[in-house]
């Protein structure tokens, strides 16, 4: 990004003052090196978001922001209920894609004799990649129940554990879902996909805590150095993709009817108080429940494989966070509490200490913010901070973001060589596609350390622990 077009307000905070159609500033949180590397499109898209009706305070971009459609990936924007809009492009196609982290009582050394068998068992147990169906098949009535119930439905069906629910955003069940707003096509894409991981950057990774960055918070989260943990990264699968496709099209074609002048067609949106706005909100919330149920079922499969191989049961869920959502939240704006529709696209909710929506055990210290890695690189656990609310409506980064296109990655790496090279570092990869592994090579991603450092310097979240991979199941 051209730094001549932004003004620096703090070490990791850059502003674009309102100009043209912008109603509010655009604010980018990033270090200077990340800013220099960042897409020009992030500037353009953040300015476009800042021009939407009813936007409150500013359009924000997180340190891992890059070019998306309509909103940048890593974009955050909150809208007033009366004047504001809801945007399908501001949520994304993979609705409620997110990460959860399971804690095990094992140390890295204790796991070592089981590592190969565990990688094989997880690969066997959890369906990954394109064309794989899950073992849970839902008819229409069961789909309705899942779309209304989320992870709570999954637990009721015997997948997962009741004690997981408080450790999931919304207690595992997003209120206000409208299964009746989910089309026949979206349903048919999901009927056989429950409990599947998907492909691309989605993964299931066995990791160890390589370094504790904040001893007090790590203890509160139950993390200690050398401990084995499991991360699951996936979303709402075909159902969410289809809902995104259908509403993006409808909002794009009907914007003018709602009196909206879009600076860019892909910034498709509708008034929150319009019929299509309400329908999208209901369908999107149903897709959030689908993602929460999906991650809960996968968790059940992971626990089963883990117990069979290592004899260890009851892996505890630290937390489950979503990256692509629009949620109704209260935030302080100019000294007043306001009810806002907060879009986070490729961004994580990061409630600070004392937030009433956090469960006991986390409320005192702040919400875990989980930053995903990329097979060979580190992942991070951070915590929401008090100042995060004032910075970006309690939001933080979500991952490293790609630095090389898939095309370049295929030119630079061979899947087999990536697998062998990671194996020589003690990291086992299981994947149905060597081409997929090459496209997702660790070198194709930005340096995650720069992203989490910038998030910390900007006051968006605080580092708790660094995780490193031991085995990765990749779609």
């Amino acid at each position: 990004m051209d730094l001549a077009r932004v003004s620096r307000h703090a070490e990791a905070e850059w502003w674009v003052e309102p100009h043209g159609a912008m109603r509010v500033p655009a604010v980018v949180y990033a270090s200077e090196p990340l800013m220099r590397e960042m897409d020009e499109k992030v500037y353009e898209q953040a300015c476009n978001v800042a021009s939407l009706p009813g936007i409150v305070k500013a359009a924000y971009a997180m340190p891992d922001a890059h070019w998306g459609y309509g909103f940048p990936i890593g974009g955050v924007a909150a809208f007033d209920e009366e004047e504001g809009v809801i945007s399908a492009g501001g949520v994304g196609f993979d609705i409620s894609c997110g990460v959860r982290l399971l804690e095990t009582p094992l140390t890295r050394e204790q796991l070592e004799p089981f590592k190969q068998a565990l990688a094989d068992a997880l690969y066997h147990e959890v369906p990954v990649g394109m064309g794989r169906t899950g073992r849970v098949h839902l008819d229409d009535a069961e789909l309705d129940a899942m779309l209304a119930g989320g992870a709570r439905w999954a637990v009721e069906q015997g997948y997962g554990a009741w004690e997981d629910l408080p450790r999931i955003e919304e207690g595992g069940c997003m209120a206000g879902a409208r299964p009746e707003s989910v089309s026949r096509r979206a349903r048919s894409r999901q009927a056989d996909e429950m409990g599947t991981l998907g492909s691309g950057n989605h993964y299931l990774e066995v990791q160890h805590v390589a370094r504790v960055e904040d001893a007090r918070l790590a203890e509160a989260y139950g993390l200690r150095e050398g401990q084995v943990v499991v991360s699951i990264h996936c979303g709402s699968r075909g159902l969410g993709h289809q809902i995104g496709t259908e509403y993006l099209r409808e909002m794009s074609l009907e914007a003018a009817r709602h009196g909206l002048t879009l600076p860019d067609r892909e910034l498709a949106c509708a008034p929150i108080r319009s019929d299509v706005g309400r329908e999208y909100l209901g369908a999107m919330r149903a897709a959030i429940n689908c993602a929460l149920a999906n991650r809960e079922i996968i968790t059940h499969l992971v626990r089963r494989a883990f117990e069979r191989v290592t004899g260890v049961s009851g892996l505890r869920l630290l937390f489950d966070v979503s990256h692509n959502t629009c949620k109704v939240e209260e935030h302080e704006v100019d000294g007043k509490r306001r009810r806002l529709f907060v879009h986070r696209k490729g961004a994580t909710r990061a409630f600070g200490p004392g937030h009433p929506d956090l469960p006991p055990g986390l409320r005192e210290v702040g919400q875990p913010v989980l930053i995903g890695g990329s097979m060979g690189t580190a992942s991070y656990v951070l915590a929401g901070t008090e100042e995060s609310e004032a910075r970006a409506f309690s939001s933080s980064a979500h991952g490293a973001g790609r630095s090389h296109s898939r095309h370049d990655a295929l030119r630079l790496w061979r899947g087999r060589e990536v697998v062998d090279s990671l194996a020589s570092r003690g990291i086992l990869i299981r994947s149905p596609s060597m081409r997929g592994v090459a496209e997702e090579a660790p070198g194709a991603y930005k340096n995650v350390v720069e992203v989490v450092d910038a998030a910390e310097v900007a006051g968006l979240s605080h580092k708790v622990a660094r995780l490193e991979p031991l085995a990765c199941i990749k779609g």
């Binding site: 499109k41 096509r185 048919s188 995104g244 993006l248």
Partner: protein, 149 residues
């Protein structure tokens, strides 16, 4: 990060991919609009697997209708994404007929065989990003957009 949505200049290729930071662009070029759409279908297949590995054993009919030709192109790709996902198939051969804003087409392919096709990634949707359908100087047609993977 560098992002391109410009079609590659010159050359004889009739379909291909565009560099994009996190996703990937697909394009097709043809003597007619129909041919450009068909070839973009091959580019879509090539995001997931090598098209020559997909045998055109079964045909699936696809219909869509849109108020303009760019939205129609996006709808065509999204219809293919939907049919592949719902039927767990890959398509490698395409036929498109256009009339009065309506597309009637067919796609040939086979069920996904993970061992043989080694699908690298599934396409979630065709986006409106980089969406462009245009007539070229030589009278041919060109169509492109970014797909979310």
């Amino acid at each position: 990060m560098h992002a391109e949505t410009q079609p590659p200049g010159g050359g004889e290729r009739s379909w291909g991919h565009l560099r994009h930071g996190s996703d990937i662009g697909v394009w097709g070029r043809g003597r007619t609009l129909e041919e450009a759409f068909e070839r973009a279908g091959v580019a879509l297949c090539a995001v997931m697997t090598e098209p020559s590995r997909v045998e055109p054993r079964e045909a699936v009919a696809v219909c869509c209708e849109a108020p303009d030709v760019e939205v129609l192109f996006s709808d065509w790709l999204n219809a293919l994404v939907y049919e592949m996902a719902a039927r767990r198939m890959l398509f490698s051969r395409f036929e498109v007929h256009l009339a009065d804003g309506r597309l009637e087409g067919r796609a040939w392919g086979e069920p996904v065989d993970v061992a043989r096709h080694e699908p690298a990634v599934e396409v979630k949707a065709a986006t409106l990003t980089g969406l462009r359908v245009k007539r070229e100087e030589d009278g041919g047609w060109y169509a492109q957009c970014v797909v979310d993977v």
